[in-house]
Point group: C2
Chain length 200, copies 2
DNA sequence: TTGATAACTGACGGGTCCGTCAACCATCGG
DNA sequence: CCGATGGTTGACGGACCCGTCAGTTATCAA
């Protein structure tokens, strides 16, 4: 057995680079050579770890998802109050810091790519399912504590997630009528209308 | 002056074909030759009307938008009651019939393309502005009639549009947990929570 | 009929880029 | 020191496709 395996970290480097390039150039314009350069290696090495461009992108999408979850795992433990937990959770999805923006970009590329790719649709299904599960469970906690209105938590979660997706997209597009701050305001408004005894 | 101008209708044919191909294959995989074949003409003719692929796509996006507006223009006159008007408007965006689905596909491709293209961002800004203006004005009508809660109409419109965008995307992705019917249910729920005196 | 122009065609040049491959390097066990 | 194996490299073949262009057809005015 020669040379201690560097496979894990090299894969990581390449996937991270791939996400960066996708975020900057888009899937359509991504070249293997770009990813290689960004990862500080050669195109041959990229192909050594990922047979095809498709395989690379699929792995990059999965990696992007895994990291998104990781970044939020602790967050859910930090707040005992479901209202604050929900707020913090939603807040973590606002496309503010560069890392979150990058993740959103990759995410958006996945969506459009998945429109014509069954495998990626399956991946989206898992991701979306996980996200919805987390959101619905927070809502349920809040309702059990008598803090949120008594609507179907799954419906509420779907509505919130859909809204966040749609708004984030507009923010990412640099819309002047939907800036980060305005998105934050809309979310605040909607969240506070979820809590009991606040019809205005 | 030779041969009566066929420019207008030929452009229309090509743009329509372009939207169909984009919807089926995605922007990334769209070939000029595909559009030509779909339009029943040659690649040379496509280039006769549109200098570059980029110009073709930009025009196709604009055309898609114009048609979307046309399809809904009458709809807003049909219902005197703002509640029904809002419901019909939202309903017209549900990705049910093939034409609406196709329009959504094109729309989604525009989004992702626009992430890296200032010109397309500007186009998105116009479209989104128009949509938001329509939606907000319905909400305002409803509030004036004392039918809707007294929240900022623009915030409500943004929230609704964001939600519709996000949900439609999941439906288009063939999500098992976000089907057309479930999207319809979520929209119903949210819309009815807008009307006064309905906290459940 | 003839010339002019709009509309159209499809072959092809040229650029791009994926994936392959032959060669190379580094590190280990024996 | 040697062979084996994991890891790496970059050149290149070949496929793909945009945009050009020389040539063709259709329609009109004179």
């Amino acid at each position: 057995m020669p040379r201690p395996s560097v496979e894990a970290e090299r894969r990581e480097q390449i996937l991270s680079a791939a996400c960066e390039v996708v975020s900057e150039l888009g899937f359509k314009s991504l070249r293997i050579a770009d990813v290689a350069r960004r990862a500080g290696t050669s195109s041959g090495t990229v192909h050594y770890y990922f047979d095809t461009k498709t395989a690379l992108m699929r792995a990059a999408f999965e990696w992007n998802f895994a990291r998104s979850l990781d970044r939020r795992r602790d967050l859910l433990q930090e707040h005992a109050d479901p209202r604050q937990r929900l707020r913090a959770f939603v807040d973590s999805y606002l496309p503010g810091d560069p890392e979150t923006v990058r993740a959103w970009h990759v995410w958006a590329e996945l969506w459009v790519e998945a429109l014509h790719d069954r495998d990626l649709q399956e991946l989206n299904e898992q991701v979306y399912g996980e996200w919805r599960r987390l959101m619905a469970s927070i809502v349920r906690d809040g309702q059990d504590a008598g803090l949120f209105r008594d609507e179907d938590p799954v419906v509420v979660a779907n509505a919130l997630i859909g809204m966040i997706d749609g708004l984030a997209l507009q923010v990412l597009l640099g819309s002047r009528s939907m800036t980060l701050e305005r998105m934050r305001a809309v979310c605040e408004q909607v969240l506070s209308s979820l809590t009991v005894g606040s019809s205005a």
